[in-house]
């Protein structure tokens, strides 16, 4: 076990990917000379050269589309979109080409493309730089959506993703890059098809992913102090969804809170809630609740941003409310 930051984990995954397969290359805004907005590819330009570490112009739609084309042409592109906020400019290429061409062509073409992007709020960067749109991506048939929350997933998911014949989108929560965590030695390659129980408990299930995992775990710790044992499920993969792991937990605890940093209405948390309701309705002792972001463009001021986002305290409150109610 070694201590490593989430950033170092992403970096190590990228380096291994570049080292083990000459067809892999990284392209995006400022991945090269600048070293990556979040320093995930610092030094890579010198190490791997300008052919494989490609700084792109500010042309999101075109360099993502070029990633699709390069994948069709036999390369293994890793496209970095600086943040999910800017990925809106590339969404047409993603929905209409990346996710669609295999099926629409009758299975003739493969698009082994990996797109990475930072997501989430919490750093006071205000309304245009704080979106959490993973849920939108999870709506798109044809792609796989990953949300690494731990250093292990940040380290290993990329490599499994690169073995997929179809497009994979990896959402790295910008708030997690400096976070430290323990990483086991040796490559315990991770799957990209299962949710993980990060904490076991019998009283209630806290279902979440990405940056909110840590808030849920903190809430669970606080709840434990009051004798409430919460189970924390990290979805890890939003599409295709591993509902079984969620159901096993809910059938045990009979209560669920879904935590999602996206705006509440139309959040992915709604999908989780709906599916639990469909599959485990008779196992529930109380209504499923959601802890999501307030429906507001995320403000700059710290106290307002904090108020807008899910917090451990809100989760604790919600859980206690549910347990008292029943």
């Amino acid at each position: 076990m070694a201590k490593i930051t989430y950033r170092e984990a992403v970096r190590a995954g990228l380096r291994e990917a570049l080292e083990r397969d000459p067809l892999v290359f990284l392209m995006g805004e400022d991945v090269g000379k600048y070293g990556g907005t979040y320093a995930c590819s610092k030094g890579f330009l010198d190490e791997f050269g300008p052919e494989r570490i490609r700084d792109t112009p500010l042309s999101e739609s075109t360099f993502v589309g070029a990633g699709i084309g390069a994948a069709l042409g036999g390369m293994r592109p890793i496209v970095e979109v600086m943040t999910v906020n800017f990925s809106l400019l590339a969404l047409d290429q993603i929905v209409n080409n990346a996710a669609t061409i295999r099926h629409m062509s009758g299975g003739q073409f493969s698009i082994p493309l990996v797109v990475r992007m930072a997501t989430g709020a919490g750093r006071q960067v205000a309304a245009q730089h704080s979106h959490s749109l993973e849920g939108w991506y999870a709506h798109i048939p044809g792609i796989t959506v990953l949300t690494p929350a731990t250093v292990a997933d940040a380290r290993w998911m990329l490599l499994t993703a690169l073995e997929q014949p179809d497009p994979v989108f990896i959402f790295e929560h910008a708030y997690l890059y400096p976070m430290e965590g323990e990483l086991e030695e040796g490559p315990p390659r991770v799957d990209i098809c299962r949710a993980a129980v990060r904490r076991t408990g019998n009283d209630i299930s806290l279902i979440t992913f990405g940056g909110c995992l840590w808030k849920a775990l903190e809430a669970a710790t606080r709840l434990a102090q009051d004798g409430i044992e919460a189970e924390v499920v990290d979805l890890r993969v939003l599409r295709p969804l591993d509902l079984d792991t969620v159901l096993i937990s809910v059938r045990k605890t009979h209560r669920a809170v879904v935590i999602d940093e996206a705006w509440r209405t139309g959040s992915f948390a709604a999908e989780i809630s709906a599916q639990i309701g469909e599959q485990a309705f008779y196992d529930l002792d109380s209504p499923i609740t959601r802890v999501c972001s307030a429906e507001v463009p995320i403000p700059y001021a710290k106290h307002l941003e904090d108020a807008a986002l899910p917090q451990a305290a809100t989760i604790v409150q919600t859980v206690k409310g549910m347990l008292c109610a029943s």
């Binding site: 075109t62 589309g65 084309g69 042409g73 047409d92 290429q93 044809g142 796989t144 098809c193």
Partner: protein
């Protein structure tokens, strides 16, 4: 005419144009008959572009086209039967009947669609060329798009990126003077499309798209430039669409006179005349050609009619590759 005409080549060019024309006339008829549905965008009037350019590409070059791609696929060599079957929505179609008129695909011929979001194919073409360059393959990617696509941001972004990275992309603009009902001068503040290449330091040229030999000559020159590793080239074909934009179109945006003026420059008619004038085409050649094409079309329709429907159980097949290890 830009070249002396060699009989074999001349007849072949005429034959390809005629194949497209007759095939699409049949499509229009089948659309009326309800055999073909959805959007159907005919290429009639623009045949010289596909017929003059596509034969110049090598088997391993890539082609990216739009929803108006029947001609491109035909000349590229995809069997007419599998195209007709696609229009029927049959499982023996070139996209298993899932794509229809707007989405022809043929991996065996590196034909990447049939992409129907205007300008959406340009970035993909840039990426295909990038893959070739990174793998040191001497291939070219030919990307066809309309004048309307020039207004989209992706046109600008793609020309810049292809030029910045010196990628082997041949940008082929089929300027038929209209984006649906919007005339070029009503969507471009500056209507010289080839001229726009200067903003990217990209070489470009504009050519008469109604003259199949001029198309061939200009495309060959552009292709040589790109194959020579000198980066992308923007070639503008000045052409015209004789039919409606799609099957539903009152054509309120242009006059009958304008259309008939252009029809005087029908690429098939004018080329046929020059072949006759050059003494390399005779009535019996044409009769033979028409007969062969009529037969080919008959067989294509039969193939489509006989084709099976994809089983409904296969609806979600190929959304993802099946049986892939996710761990």
């Amino acid at each position: 005419m830009t070249h002396p005409i060699n009989r074999e080549q001349g007849l072949e060019l005429l034959r390809q144009m005629l194949r497209i024309r007759r095939f699409e006339e049949k499509c229009a008829e089948l659309y009326q008959g309800g055999k073909i549905r959805g959007f159907l965008h005919l290429y009639i009037g623009e045949e010289a572009v596909a017929a003059g350019s596509i034969p110049l590409f090598a088997a391993d070059d890539a082609i990216v086209a739009t929803y108006r791609e029947h001609g491109h696929a035909l000349v590229r060599g995809t069997a007419m039967g599998s195209l007709m079957a696609e229009l029927y929505g049959k499982a023996n179609g070139c996209a298993r009947g899932r794509g229809g008129s707007m989405h022809f695909f043929d991996a065996s011929r590196r034909f990447f669609g049939g992409l129907a979001i205007v300008a959406g194919g340009l970035p993909v073409a840039v990426g295909l060329a990038l893959a070739d360059k990174m793998q040191q393959r001497a291939r070219v990617t030919a990307c066809y798009f309309g004048d309307g696509a020039v207004a989209e941001g992706e046109f600008h972004e793609s020309l810049n990126l292809a030029a910045l990275w010196t990628l082997p992309v041949l940008f082929l603009c089929e300027n038929n003077l209209y984006a649906m009902g919007t005339a070029l001068a009503r969507h471009q503040s500056q209507t010289d499309i080839a001229g726009k290449a200067q903003a990217y330091g990209v070489r470009s040229k504009s050519v008469d798209g109604m003259d199949v030999l001029a198309v061939a000559a200009a495309t060959r020159a552009a292709l040589d430039h790109v194959r020579g590793g000198q980066g992308p080239f923007l070639l503008e074909y000045r052409t015209y669409r004789f039919r409606a934009h799609s099957m539903y179109d009152a054509e309120l945006y242009r006059s009958k006179e304008e259309v008939s003026r252009w029809k005087k420059r029908d690429p098939l008619m004018t080329f046929e005349q020059s072949l006759r004038a050059a003494g390399v085409l005779f009535d019996e050649d044409l009769a033979k050609m028409e007969l062969e094409i009529a037969t080919e079309i008959e067989e294509a329709v039969a193939y489509a009619e006989a084709g099976p429907w994809e089983p409904v159980e296969d609806l979600t097949k190929d959304v993802y590759t099946e049986n892939v290890r996710r761990l």
